[in-house]
Symmetry: C2
Subunit: 197 residues, 2 copies
């Protein structure tokens, strides 16, 4: 078997998700994943550090997309435009091919408490990275943290809507809609606060 295999990464991902769904995540070995994909273990390790990375491997790329989009927004951009830019920049990662695997990925994570914790920690990392990028633009601490939580919630809600089996809208369209929805709620909660004073 040659060193280079066409679509090896995608084949390994499909094989891994199918096996996780059939046998359970903990019960699946890297050797079995490689075998199912018709590839070798060493090919697997050229693409992923371990089987967990099959599920969470895109994390660092997304984190960088979010940060870069916020850092490179024009100085005049509002905080919410920065969030919109961050979500838009992530859209490249959410292709049709990825959509087909999303439901399997969700089910595997939901079935395993340790993976579910990993997913929650991923969200906390995204939120920290967004807050840091906003602070680097001169956004004050409290606004940066609040906006990052809103940005993270917009991302996770958009992702869930996009990943739904019957969804046909693009990630970018859903991101725009979700962010506007959250902003309208922030206004409502603000007005509610004024009423409380």
């Amino acid at each position: 078997m040659g060193r280079w295999e066409p679509n090896a990464r995608a084949r390994l991902e499909r094989a891994a998700l199918a096996l996780f769904a059939e046998r359970g995540y903990d019960e699946t070995t890297v050797a079995e994943i490689a075998d199912r994909a018709g590839l070798t273990k060493s090919t697997f390790f050229r693409h992923f550090a371990d089987k967990r990375e099959v599920l969470f491997g895109g994390q660092d790329m997304l984190l960088e997309l979010f940060s870069n989009a916020i850092r490179s927004a024009p100085p005049s951009a509002t905080t919410t435009s920065c969030l919109a830019a961050a979500l838009e920049s992530a859209a490249v990662a959410f292709t049709t091919e990825r959509h087909d695997l999303a439901e399997q990925r969700r089910a595997v994570i939901a079935a395993n408490p340790e993976l579910h914790e990993r997913e929650l920690l991923k969200r906390a990392r995204f939120s920290s990275a967004m807050a840091e990028a906003l602070r680097a633009r001169g956004t004050d601490e409290t606004t940066a943290r609040l906006a990052a939580e809103i940005g993270m919630l917009a991302f996770s809600t958009t992702y869930a809507r996009w990943a739904a089996p019957d969804n046909e809208q693009s990630f970018a369209e859903l991101a725009d809609m979700t962010l506007r929805e959250l902003q309208a709620r922030a206004i409502a909660l603000g007005a509610d606060a004024t009423a409380r004073v």
Copy 2:
């Protein structure tokens, strides 16, 4: 040594935090904690399931305080009043004695990546519990999730301010101030959103 020891829980907590700070969390054993407190291992296990619980033991109580405060708010209460009630209800946990240990606790958690992850997961649990309590009141899904993130951020910011070594304000005062600050920021982000449209 008798079965009942006065202030055993507090003594064990102080002993544990002192040892974690001196030797590191991973290097400290339950036997050493009990010994330093002048108590037995079995007394330790009557109060804590393991040494991690010394740091995170209050979690379930806080979670219940938050949920109950939101669930028992009058039907006419606004979403932000529910958050205010949740934070106020937590104030009982943040006594002067607890304040004296807070800085040590923070340092131990900051020095250990695994404990830091535990702390982030605790926040995610709090946020889920608040969202669930709001949904139980009939708050719509998006508002419930957004308000829960704001509530969680208000809690963690209040806690950090309260735990600061030079702080002399009560948790309840700081909670009120922090929540108002976040609400003002939510209004500003809302206005910023209107500008984007």
